[in-house]
Symmetry: C3
Subunit: 162 residues, 3 copies
């Protein structure tokens, strides 16, 4: 009931970061996506069944620096060929927990709708974001983002980050 | 951390407006829907591919006054015949930006689930709301609402606003 | 605009309760689910068409105490056999209204994605939570939770709470 004012504000800031994350991908501003991470930040995509089985492998994406993420974007822009698609993220149920080291754990549920260029839904993915967020030079950044995919049976190749 | 109180409050008020928008449609209170707009407010529905191609046409709905919206409701209640359906809106990722003229830009992602009267999902639409919101006589109203539909290949006729 | 500070905080607390509700089910922590209710709290699942027709029957689940909910969990853990599935809740559009008796009405929209153990989406349910929430010994609890299912044509048996 008497949550300190500061806590409300950090929650709002984390929502803003998540919204910006979604918007970079939904608006196809891929180049802006790595900028939301620390220079040595990590981005992992794994499946729920692997993680629950304790299997530390089979990552769909495994990037341990901003540079690797930029590389992915360059690849998508200039090397890979694939059917273009729209995407739309719905991020909900964000739970923020301050950590002793000054960082924040923020877990959210997400739904990702992928839409082909003919305007038909091609896939719906559900899962969880398990994020570690830190304040860096006055801005919140992802230190680590782990995307846990519930819908891990994939009909399509993984193209853009989730 | 020290977001001014007013800023938190305006975001909350915009969420309330969006929730009321969804509820008017989800609860079939169609007559209340135009009341959320200014008298000379606008409501547009267009498709993402048209907008991205710079084509200013092909609007699915194009209303430039509350009166036109009321007309639509009257038509739905008394003139059109169609298979009734339930709908359910999920509005997320709302990003609020105050404008110089005192209005607010508020963009959100949405998912709209349409359910036939036999209880089966008949369609899922995803897209973005691009709203301009103003304070009018102590209440927030839509000055303009542009619905950008990602899932623009439609299996069903457009009946109710999105 | 000048919502008292306490009201913002209660909204945040209600979001936290809803997030915890979703997480108990999504993370398969079923034993924690009844703890979110008062000892004599109620949990009902009904369908939108029944409720709108004024039919007070045909509940999918009808529990009027925490003990009945615990019983359900025991049954799921030890008695029922069913194909295991993941679930993922998206809870949005929460509207909080303080009541004269000190409780809060909180209505939300939800989307529930059910995923089979092969990673494919098996079902998507949409609906509304109509909750009554009270403060009890310093914590928010559900006094009553009514789940109204829009997608009431069910392809699968109802297993876990919604």
């Amino acid at each position: 009931m008497d949550t300190p004012f500061a806590d409300i504000s950090i929650e709002q800031s984390i929502h803003n970061l998540l919204n910006e994350y979604a918007d970079c991908l939904d608006s196809e501003r891929l180049e802006d996506w790595p900028e939301l991470f620390l220079e040595n930040g990590s981005y992992f995509v794994s499946t729920r069944d692997n993680l629950e089985a304790g299997l530390d492998g089979g990552y769909w994406m495994y990037y341990t620096s901003q540079a690797m993420m930029r590389d992915r974007v360059t690849s998508l822009r200039h090397i890979n060929t694939y059917n273009k698609y729209y995407c739309r993220h719905l991020i909900t149920n964000t739970k923020v927990k301050p950590q002793d080291d000054g960082s924040f754990k923020a877990n959210s549920n997400f739904l990702l709708v992928q839409i082909g260029f003919e305007g038909k839904t091609e896939g719906i993915r559900a899962g969880e974001y398990r994020d570690t967020v830190v304040m860096f030079e006055g801005e919140l950044k992802f230190k680590e983002k782990l995307v846990v995919v519930d819908t891990f049976h994939s009909d399509t190749t993984l193209i853009k980050p989730l």
